[in-house]
């Protein structure tokens, strides 16, 4: 795998591929927002009607939508919800109730009207409101603010606050196929599909996209993030549209898909977190949500239907984010364990609950040294075939494939939902495979994995939940044993890197003692209870086994367990 390490030495400067904001697809979209919204409403209506074959099915769908929405309004209201939620759904309810009194034709009309009202409401909520001026401001804030902090912290001299010796790129290493993605963004529509570990991911990716000189991407951000004003500001400015995970009814999901599909067709580069939500366990996603991913495939087919051989291609770019430290780790892993159904206690501690906490974290992050890496994978077509610089899809023998042929039968591009569902599944398998290949192992992942596996192997009879309740004195590992196991695993990891099955951070080549020291000092470094430390006797131990388990999971799915005997 070719790899350009940005950072350490002089960071590469990428010029914007589209100089004027006027040309950005997302700007064009927001300029014609009204028309765009109308188109989405029309398309969503058609979709819902395609699913609900007859009137009765449509009424069923409306009723179940109403029921779940009323329940949501009552049981689970959020700060971002509009004031008139209750009134709106109440109105829908009385309209639905009156249906029985109407004649057939009148009732059918009312149903359609209600569906349209609901879909319009959803569309308005989902649609982002991109403003180039806000985008520039947010971007400047991020870049400028962060570099001030960074320089003030790294250079301990008077006036360091204003120096520019360090930039964000020293902190955040971008590796992989940057040039390739830039090329393709000029030729087609790029869809980035990153792993998702932290709420910071979207801001981080936003920064990466800007750094690479790409126009802003649109992406679906959880509506819950808009509860927090600092996030809401950034999200709104970075081209986010809103995804509400509470709403699972058909009209909502179809509206969401219409939005994504249509934006892609209009050439807006997009960002999906295909895992759907942050990885609770800390492991790389191995099962992806297929709904939004499917819109990429659908949009590609519709492009071909519309423009034949001249159609714009859609490119999928897997991205893996790596951290030494994930702020939410303790609460994520507790949620994960609770989901597994074995822990009875209810644990809630949202680290992102206030803007203040986030700000505090930012300061910590930039003033202490914890690096982040962003690995950009090889771009692919919507079937997972690699593409060259011109955007041609290639087969394993480097013969050019016409992607249109995947959607063709009897020499015509045809619609076939089941076929596209299957393609989506195939694509998701390829993405997961690429994730594992471009994942860059950090020292902290290595030490966390080895330490947890040693403790686990000592107690083969305990299940995970009992293991996590081990008394402290059983959680101590002698340094020599620890080092020997780290050696075994590190060797294996480097061998697999040679085969292109995994990647490692540049610090991975250091001497083993230093690598371990680096890992220990970095793994979950800002948690109040550290997942891994050396005690006074020099032994390895943990202050929080569950969080250690979280960081350990990062190397899950590679079959590394058998190297810790």
């Amino acid at each position: 795998m070719s790899e350009t390490v940005v950072g350490k030495r002089k960071p590469v400067k990428y010029s914007p591929i589209l100089p004027g904001t006027e040309d950005w697809p997302v700007v064009q979209l927001s300029r014609n927002r009204k028309q765009f919204i109308q188109e989405i409403i029309t398309e969503s209506e058609l979709r819902v009607k395609g699913i609900t074959i007859n009137r009765n099915a449509l009424i069923d769908e409306l009723e179940s939508t109403l029921y779940t929405e009323m329940l949501r309004v009552k049981k689970n209201p959020w700060k971002v919800d509009p004031e008139d939620e209750y009134a709106f759904w109440h109105k829908i309810k009385s309209n639905l109730l009156n249906l029985t009194n109407d004649s057939q034709a009148a009732a059918a009309k009312t149903e359609e009207k209600l569906l349209k009202e609901i879909i319009s409401r959803y569309t308005e909520e989902i649609a982002g409101n991109f403003k180039p001026s806000h985008y520039r401001l947010a971007r400047t804030l991020v870049t400028y603010g962060f570099s001030r902090l960074l320089n003030a912290a790294r250079i301990k001299k008077f006036g360091a606050f204003w120096r520019n010796d360090y930039t964000l790129q020293d902190k955040i290493h971008i590796t992989g196929e940057m040039e390739h993605v830039r090329e393709l963004a000029k030729k087609g529509t790029v869809i980035m599909v990153p792993t998702h570990f932290s709420n910071l991911d979207s801001i981080l990716i936003g920064w990466v996209i800007h750094t690479l000189g790409l126009p802003p991407f649109i992406y679906g951000a959880g509506l819950n993030l808009f509860n927090i004003s600092i996030f809401a500001y950034f999200m709104n400015s970075l081209g986010a549209y809103k995804v509400d995970r509470r709403k699972k009814n058909v009209p909502y999901l179809e509206t969401l898909k219409s939005y994504s599909s249509m934006a892609i067709r209009k050439g807006c580069h997009s960002l999906f977190f295909p895992g759907g939500t942050r990885s609770r366990s800390g492991s790389i996603e191995n099962k992806l949500k297929l709904g939004l991913l499917g819109t990429a495939i659908e949009a590609q087919r519709m492009n071909y239907e519309q423009d034949g051989d001249k159609a714009k291609k859609v490119f999928i770019v897997p991205v893996v984010l790596n951290y030494h430290f994930v702020l939410e780790a303790p609460s994520l892993i507790h949620e994960h364990l609770a989901q597994q159904g074995q822990e009875r206690y209810y644990y809630e501690n949202d680290e992102y609950s206030t803007s203040y906490k986030i700000f505090k974290f930012m300061i910590q992050f930039f003033t202490k040294g914890s690096d982040i890496s962003v690995s950009i994978g090889k771009p692919m077509d919507v079937l997972g075939n690699p593409v060259d610089k011109e955007g041609n899809s290639l087969d394993p023998h480097n013969r050019i494939i016409d992607t249109k042929d995947y959607f063709t039968s009897n020499q015509k591009v045809t619609r076939n939902k089941q076929r596209e569902d299957e393609y989506t599944r195939m694509l998701s398998h390829v993405i997961v495979k690429r994730y594992h290949e471009i994942n860059r192992v950090f020292s902290s992942h290595l030490v966390a994995f080895v330490a947890f596996e040693i403790i686990k192997k000592r107690h083969p009879r305990l299940d995970l939940f009992n293991l996590l309740r081990l008394p402290e004195e059983e959680q101590v590992i002698s340094y020599d044993e620890f080092k020997a196991k780290c050696q075994l695993l590190a060797t294996e990891i480097l061998q697999r890197k040679e085969k292109g099955q995994i990647d490692v951070a540049s610090h991975f080549y250091e001497d083993l003692d230093e690598l371990i020291a680096h890992g220990l000092s970095n793994v979950g470094m800002y948690h109040s209870k550290r997942p891994l430390i050396r005690d006074k006797k020099g032994n390895i131990t943990t202050q929080d086994l569950a969080t250690l388990y979280y960081y350990h999971n990062r190397l899950d799915g590679y079959g590394f367990e058998k190297f810790i005997k």
């Binding site: 087969d395 992607t403 063709t408 009897n410 020499q411 076929r419």
Partner: protein, 351 residues
Amino acid sequence: MASKNSSNKPIGVVGSGSFGAAVANLLAQNNEVLMYARRKEVVEDMLQNRVCHGHTLHERITPTNDLKYLAEQCEIIFPVIPSANFREMMKQLSPYLHPYHMLIHGTKGLDTSLAPSGAMESGAKLTREHVKTMSEVIREESVVVRIGCLAGPNLARELADGHPAATVVASHFDEVIHEGQRLLRSDRFQVYGSADLIGIELCGVLKNIIAIASGALSGMDLGENARALLISRGMVEMIYLGRALGGNTQAFIGLAGVGDLVATCSSKLSRNYSVGFRLAKGEKLNDIIGSMDEIAEGVNTVRIMKKLADHYKVRAPITEVLHKVLFEDMTVQEALQYLMKFPLNTDIDFI
């Protein structure tokens, strides 16, 4: 019945064995068929005599020796050739294939060409990574994704005689199943669909093991109780092995599983059955194979599955003793004794 295929493109068949000819004849009832044979003289012979392995060829079948032409003319192709030649054939065909092609194969064997050389003969272990079903070979060697397979009780001779029968077309794609049904269905031939591609492929592959054993029972004249015992225990073994390779239980209790198993275990028309039969009569494996004009896939399947069962620790007594009989000089009588002493406690423990 007139073809509904709007483009009226011919349907391709790759392979000129007896099952290939039977499939081509079924297809020719509704469509033009291009039938590929690797050897020129076979094509010449088919052109002149209109006969292939005793099957009279339908008038709508055109033999050809040109894979490129076949791929250009046909969107739907049925590869029906021995598993040992399958990957090589795919390599030759692959440059002419496009993602719009559909491939529905009828090969009932496994591919081990990715295994380290000599692994099959030596004691080296074999894993799933090295053993591929034909649909996996198609995926690896070409850009074709719309892939299906044919499996079921389809003894070629009976099909040719026009006896009623049915088959299963399995694919992850509904459109492939629909095409298979549209192309093959007739008054005398029923076509079922399944989404478990790997499971259905494995049904066809694994039943050949049991067919050899069944032939051996007949060779020893042991009667129908013994065969019923073999078929039901054989089915359990197929399910264990099949699941270890990624199939679902359901496939094995359907037409392609138990249906095909019963047909192959009871019919002298089956090649694998005759291997077992002749072994029981005292012939040597090499002589049997040498005298057959077509390949009995089961022999190689026993070899592969024995290694896989060892590696994945799957209980497969029938496969194990067959391996001893075929390759380790155990006699059929000894094998039978061994099996009857095998400690089994539960009848069914997988549903």
